[in-house]
Symmetry: C2
Subunit: 257 residues, 2 copies
């Protein structure tokens, strides 16, 4: 099966003026928000920002003064060692909240870099605590997001600690495909947007670039998946899930801030 001709590379869309017009405020994707919730988020939002692919949004060691929600595009969190080794902690997709840890540390313990051109909603850090005081539902949502992030990290920890190369790659492909597809980043033909280079995959999985390539090619030759034109196609999702020992949990809609 050949991938359909790729549509023109969509440049990321800007967040609308009003949060109620947010493209992600649709049934099923995120938790429903009533008018009051929307007003809260709208008032919290200090503005929007753009960032070019490859630029760093948050630098390691600096104290970030803003909070962000990814509106469009992909990014990733990472940490570096002194000699340059870099570990990608997880990938950030639209709807993901950035910067929580900064609230409770003296400096950013990780960096954030744009994988594609990025559109962001920006929130002033200083408004977080007042909002906690005025809106307990908001506080609850933030905690929810933090707990959810923690679950993702748990998964990644198991992957790095216990899975071999093929299992790691299969896991990453399945998980990212599901996350992207769920957001409607698919093309309707089994392919989803996939802006990672093999170096990103290697850094995320704790593998060398060379071995990452060989493992990807192996799975591809087995007909399990295909990567082409910045898109990922899962040709045999069940087989990939079996290799990765991936257990699909029902995805609960998250709060969107």
């Amino acid at each position: 099966m050949n991938p359909p001709p790729s549509p023109p590379p969509s440049s990321p869309s800007s967040p609308p003026e009003r949060c109620r017009d947010c493209r992600w405020r649709q049934p099923g994707l995120f938790l429903p928000a009533d008018a009051e919730d929307l007003a809260t988020v709208q008032a919290f939002r200090g503005g929007t920002e753009k960032l070019r692919a490859g630029r760093t949004l948050v630098a390691e060691g600096r104290l970030p003064i803003k909070l962000y929600t990814v509106y469009d595009g992909w990014a990733f969190r990472y940490k570096s060692l002194a000699d340059g080794r870099r570990q990608i902690l997880n990938f950030l997709l639209p709807g993901d909240f950035i910067g929580l840890q900064g609230e409770f540390a003296d400096e950013a313990t990780h960096g954030v870099e744009a994988l594609t051109d990025l559109q962001l909603c920006v929130f002033p850090r200083g408004d977080l605590w007042p909002l906690f005081q005025r809106k307990p539902e908001f506080a609850y949502d933030v905690t929810w997001l933090a707990a959810k992030q923690e679950q993702l990290l748990d998964e990644n920890l198991v992957t790095l600690g216990q899975r071999n190369a093929a299992e790691r790659v299969a896991m990453l492909l399945v998980v990212l495909w599901r996350r992207a597809d769920r957001l409607g980043l698919g093309d309707g033909h089994g392919g989803v947007e996939f802006p990672l280079t093999q170096q990103h995959i290697a850094d995320a999985l704790g593998l060398s670039l060379v071995h990452t390539n060989k493992t990807l090619r192996k799975l591809e030759r087995l007909g399990l998946h295909r990567v082409a034109d910045g898109r990922l196609y899962l040709l045999q999702p069940a087989a990939l899930a079996r290799i990765a020992d991936f257990v699909a949990r029902p995805i609960r809609p998250q709060p969107l801030i």
Copy 2:
């Protein structure tokens, strides 16, 4: 080295009746709590529980109905794969909060097992949301703890993804020693309580038992550390930190719930 707040108990001590008498409510260890904070936590606490070493506090896949704070003893969080491989996600020491993720998932995505005999403060899950509504400081503290946990997981992810066996072991020794020493679990002579078996270390670091042993022995023969009688001694902390590329951050007191 911190002076022990109380003589190191060979058998875990029970939580006192009143939270204000809690052995961990001492300057420097955790964030100070005023009378109102204490009353809040006291009212939240539904009781106490004990658990024998080796028993599971939370089983993977079950929906836990309680929240806990470790009062005395060690525990660990873990996840398993279908074929039995197990990854220890992190270790839990006195003051650590257990069960947040359960609030936002349909089932526990990880298990919790007692490493030593365990003394716990228990909180009913159903009271969490009402507390968020009544006490924004409480909500803020919970979010703080969640963000802090996330930082620990980030560190572990870097360890598993980028560090080799010697670096991993050195990292674990340094980090656990600091956490235990800070709580006053030291003996005043450079040794801290250390209830892990080499199998636990292996499961936490994603190494085989055999290779974990060989790596530990190598560092021990270099005179960097010593493990004896359930105690860990760092003989050359700076050398271990250098091997692990561990950067000491000032430890901020956490909230205690």
